[in-house]
């Protein structure tokens, strides 16, 4: 039996003051969340991304889908305190709250989707149709040597990354993250399922089940008592805390159990709406092949094409902090703690 979640009512219906405030503007209410502007946005919407997306594919994966996410997010947060919160703040705030799983999902998906599209290389469309499509510049040498030393070679990194993405059966994202700064830095490949987030503040949501289809009782059946669900939030136990430092420590955002402070650098979306329109399903069997080997799936082809269109400069800029680039820098914990809140 599927327990349907209670219908999420928009908050502004309970606030007459909000309605009174809206009497000034008879047209559509002001949207807090607007579509982010990608570089060469107009060219991308008109011509797609050559080799990866057609214009219709961009319309589905970016324009319509991201627009839908922001529309729903505006609808659900309008009139409330979190009306003007950015998606990162929303997703971390609601990461432990199963009753607001919808807002978490929308905010996290918006964050992940924008991050994915930011990492794809775009250039102005060639003026003449016969001109070759712009190719992304090669990886910066510093980044190439760092990644090669970490993973053995860039080819190994590619194989590892795409294998992880291909083996994910359902929708999600695969991330390349950096875990520590300084000489002992480590890159990791991290998959997240559905709308899971790599940010440290959201690590309470390991996402073993889809909380969108749960309510308090069903979540309790997973092993969380009602009392625990009700207390979800920043730990408030201050037993044994004393001294000048403990007050400031209590205010700091805590790291979740099992959470890791990571800096996401790159991601790919394995959600089907991202690639199904242009790459289709694939996985056909060649009738002449006696072994019946299954051909590459549309997802595999998409991932291979995506790897060639990564904008490595974006990755390099995200990695290249003044602290992280220096050997022996001790600015590790405080710097990473930005993603905890």
């Amino acid at each position: 039996m599927i327990i349907q979640p209670t219908l999420r009512l928009p908050r502004h219906l309970f606030r007459s003051a909000d309605r009174a405030a809206r009497c000034f503007s008879q047209s559509a209410p002001a949207r807090a969340h607007k579509m982010p502007e990608l570089n060469h946005d107009k060219d991308m919407r008109r011509d797609g991304i050559r080799g990866l997306y057609s214009p219709d594919g961009i319309a589905i994966a970016w324009v319509e889908y991201h627009g839908m996410l922001l529309n729903k997010l505006n609808f659900m947060t309008a009139g409330g305190e979190e009306e003007n919160w950015e998606p990162k703040k929303l997703l971390i705030h609601y990461a432990r709250d199963p009753t607001n799983a919808a807002i978490f999902n929308l905010a996290s998906m918006a964050w992940n989707n924008h991050f994915f599209f930011k990492g794809i290389f775009r250039a102005p469309s060639p003026k003449k149709k016969d001109d070759p499509p712009p190719t992304p510049p090669p990886m910066p040498t510093t980044l190439a040597t760092t990644l090669a030393s970490e993973f053995g070679s860039i080819q190994t990194l590619r194989d590892e990354f795409l294998a992880t993405a291909n083996s994910m059966f359902g929708p999600g994202f695969v991330w390349l993250v950096k875990t520590k700064t300084g000489y002992n830095s480590s890159f990791r490949i991290l998959p997240t399922y559905m709308a899971g987030s790599p940010l440290a503040g959201a690590h309470y949501r390991r996402q073993p089940v889809d909380m969108n289809t749960q309510n308090g009782d069903s979540a309790a059946s997973l092993g969380l008592s009602r009392a625990e669900l009700g207390k979800m939030g920043v730990p408030t136990n201050s037993v044994g805390a004393f001294g000048a430092q403990s007050a400031s420590y209590a205010k700091q955002p805590k790291l979740a159990y099992g959470g890791v402070d990571v800096t996401p650098l790159l991601c790919v979306s394995t959600w089907e709406h991202s690639w199904l329109r242009d790459w289709r399903v694939g996985g056909v069997v060649d009738p002449n092949d006696p072994d019946g080997v299954v051909g590459p799936t549309g997802k595999e082809n998409f991932l291979a094409a995506w790897w060639d269109r990564i904008d490595w400069k974006v990755v390099y800029d995200l990695m290249q902090d003044s602290a992280t680039s220096r050997q022996g820098s001790t600015n590790n914990d405080r710097a990473f703690a930005f993603n905890r809140s």
Binding site: R31, A32, P87, H114, S322, A323, N331, R334
Partner: protein, 394 residues
């Protein structure tokens, strides 16, 4: 303890020592672009840290024996500066991902980055609820010219009047500051303290957020007589050698008073009127506009409105100070120097001057001691008389 530098020009007293001039780069609330923060190299980080440390080292000494010296703040390390830049970089890279949040009202920005006179628009005043007046039965008919109409039994203040009067007041504040005047910002209601302090900081004036002590102007010598005064040149640098002349000098009075709640400060405004000190005040529909020289018709019950008005006048004072300092840098003094201050006799021998002053004090103290001891009965002389009298009695 809030420390602020107030310079003596022609008739003013210093109340507190100079505060650290904060490095604008770190306390400005203007957001740096992502490119700017990314391009900051480690050398620049070192330069920033060195600059902060140099400011920290040049701390003003305590003004007198009574004021405790402020605690020296810890020197900013290069690592702290680096950590801050890293935080800013991360914020730009990861904070704004997902959507573009439309500009919206953030209450703290009225204090951290107040609007300037050029930012005053009717929309801003409307959003700050400056138009909300009191019930019609409570009005002061002298405010009729500022009222737009009535809605739901309350008066609505005409915002074009508010804007015009606010701009006029801002010009006055700017010009007073440009001419080296001392501006006092007063706001004694709950919650107005931060706004008043910020405005005074910007205009390099004085603030008051507790109760006005009656007589601080009319009986100033008694109430403020213990405050130290100092003489500064046009570049706001203290000029030593005037201690003798300052000892006999009268207390300072403000040259302009900005009052954010005139309804509770009648005594202050009355004293200012008695001493010909111009006043600017936020006048609600039930307030008396004749209490102040330059009324600003607005809602004094809304903290947001008060913060906007206080912020605008603070920024106006900041502009005036900037103009004065620019003129001083060019060698132009925008105010007449104090006519009754004579240049010190030997400016080179400050030590001898100090010795003379100390000697003078010692002589005065000795004179006082002698006077007090002369009043006591002198036992040696009277003892024989007493004995004689007792003998007589016997």
């Amino acid at each position: 303890m809030i420390l602020r530098h107030v310079a003596l020009r022609h008739a003013r007293r210093t109340l507190t020592p100079q505060s650290l001039r904060p490095l604008k780069r770190f306390v400005s609330s203007e957001v740096e672009s992502a490119d700017a923060s990314v391009q900051n190299s480690l050398d620049e980080v070192q330069a920033i840290a060195a600059h902060i440390n140099s400011l920290t080292a040049a701390q003003a000494p305590p003004i007198d024996n009574l004021t405790p010296s402020p605690a020296q703040p810890a020197a900013v390390s290069a690592e702290a500066a680096e950590s801050y830049l890293l935080f800013k970089h991360r914020e730009s890279q990861f904070g704004a991902v997902g959507s573009v949040v439309a500009p919206h009202y953030q209450p703290h920005t009225l204090l951290s980055n107040p609007p300037s006179p050029s930012d005053v628009t009717l929309e801003l005043l409307l959003a700050s609820e400056a138009h909300q007046g009191h019930a019609t039965a409570l009005w002061n008919p002298a405010n009729a010219r500022y009222i737009h109409g009535i809605r739901q039994g309350t008066h609505i203040i005409a915002l074009d009047q508010t804007a015009a009067h606010l701009r006029r007041a801002a010009k006055i504040v700017t010009e007073v500051a440009r001419r080296g005047g001392l501006i006092l910002f007063v706001g004694t209601r709950a919650g107005q303290d931060r706004c008043v302090v910020k405005a005074a900081q910007l205009a390099q004036g004085c603030h008051l957020f507790e109760r006005w002590i009656p007589g601080s102007i009319t009986n100033g010598q008694q109430i403020l007589g213990k405050c130290r005064t100092k003489v500064v040149n046009e570049k706001d640098e203290e000029v030593p050698g005037f201690e003798d002349q300052l000892y006999d000098r009268s207390v300072l009075k403000p040259d302009l008073v900005v009052c954010l709640n005139p309804m509770e400060n009648y005594v202050l405004l009355r004293e200012c009127g008695d001493h010909s000190i111009p006043t600017i005040g936020v006048i609600d529909t039930d307030a008396d506009p004749t209490w102040v020289t330059y009324p600003i018709p607005a809602n004094d019950d809304s903290l947001r409105c008060i913060q906007v008005i206080g912020g605008v006048l603070g920024r106006a004072g900041e502009q005036g100070q900037k103009l004065r300092q620019q003129a001083a840098a060019r060698g132009i003094v925008t105010y007449p120097p104090a006519s009754d201050l004579k240049p010190p006799a030997h400016t080179s021998s400050v030590a001898s001057q100090l010795e003379q002053t100390i000697e003078k004090r010692r002589q005065e103290a000795a004179l006082i001691d002698r006077t007090m001891s002369a009043e006591e009965p002198q036992e040696v002389e009277n003892k024989d008389d007493l004995e004689d009298s007792r003998d007589e009695e016997r």
